[in-house]
């Protein structure tokens, strides 16, 4: 039985950032770390241990899969990773969830905003 996307929610911050990095194109490990730092404007730095621990779990869960090298010329031992269909669905569901949280928060904050005398 295929797992439902909601089974994976909510995502941990590191997991969310990794899935977000892979949303655009396939990447190798160090590039994912760089992309996460760029997305968070340097506030969230992912170490290799955390990255590969998450990748290991995500691949086991079927959210991320290993991809072929970027080109024929790339003979390095780097491995590339990309989102699977399930991973893309989970990421979309998480973003929707976060959007709902943000909308709710905005509405809540609006009602709490102090009125000017």
């Amino acid at each position: 039985m295929k797992p439902a996307t909601d089974d994976f929610l909510p995502l941990a911050p590191a997991t969310l950032h990794i899935l977000l990095s892979l949303a655009g194109e396939k990447m190798y490990g160090y590039a994912i770390m760089q992309e996460v730092a760029r997305q968070s404007e340097g506030r969230f730095k992912l170490g290799p241990g955390t990255l590969y621990d998450n990748l290991q779990r995500l691949m086991k869960a079927g959210l991320v899969e290993e991809a072929a090298a970027r080109s024929e010329d790339d003979t390095s031992r780097r491995r590339y990773y990309r989102l699977s269909g399930l991973g893309r669905g989970v990421l979309t569901a998480e973003i929707d969830r976060l959007r709902g949280v943000v909308d709710h928060a905005r509405a809540h904050l609006k009602s709490l905003r102090p009125r000017r005398a």
Binding site: G47, P48, G49, Y52, D53, Q56
Partner: protein, 355 residues
Amino acid sequence: MLRWLYIQMLWAHPAGFRHRFGDEMLEAFDLSIGFREHLRLLLDGALSLWRQWVLRPEFHAPWQPTGASGPGYQLLTFQQIEPYKPRGIALAQGGLLAILLLFGVVDAINHGGGKVRTLLIGMRRPGFGLIKLNRAALEGGPPTTTVEAVRDLDDPLRPFARSYFRVVRVLAALDADGDLTISPSEIANAPAALRKLDLNRDGKLSAEECGFLPPGDFAGPARLLARYRGDFMRENPILAALDTDRDGVISAAEIANSAAALKSLDLNNDGSLKPYELLPNPATSQAAGMMGRFDTNEAGVIALQSLPKDDPDVELIRRLLISADRNRDGLVTRGELIVELAAHPDAPRQPGKQP
């Protein structure tokens, strides 16, 4: 240094994780710049190590290469504990090292090597438990030839000599091939063999280094112990022959001269020393025992007057001692006692024992 630590940390990860992600983690470490960044990655690696061993037991299964799933693959591959093959240069270096080691072993076997050689080629001397064979019965015979074992009973002294060679360590050292005979080559090699017994490296051999063992519960005066040592060096013919100055110690000069000294024991002049030429004279040993028993004031003589009176068990000994006192001075010396015991081998040696 930090890189080395990081590599060690990677090695400490579960094999499956290490094989799958180790290279990439190290690459990320190498691409990072700055001491603080490296320190941060080291901490991250430590956390990863903890997570892998504590929180991810489901991933501890052996790693398999990508695409190694499916029944077909299982049929075509071997199960390996270590899936990575070593690099070619490592194989070449290992091969070279093995060849050099082999040459070293062969060279050590061919050109001596002391104790190393003994270890390399196994037992240097045949064990006492091994059955000696009559080789003449084997040579030229058909494959069904019955092998004859040499009977030790041919020489009634050999069973006793075996024990004696174990006790007197000098003999065990000299008899390199363990055949209970000191051959001409073993006599020639005596100085080297004796030097191996010099455990404290003082250049000479004490009674203890020659095999003397003081009684385990000995609590008497040191003077008495010294006397026992002297007796040991005097009563054993091989030690008496080596200790030419009779000082109870085989000095460096005596060790150097040992080959010549040993030849003095060769009664039949055949060049080798057999058990009957090496074993102590029973009369000498018995005399030493009696001196220890009755020379109570340690004067080196037994005073007939000092023997216990009215003791029927001692009366037989008294008769022997009176007979041994050739000069009738009332004192029996060790020499007189030995002569008497040798002349009357059936005489009583201990109180209460009839001949």
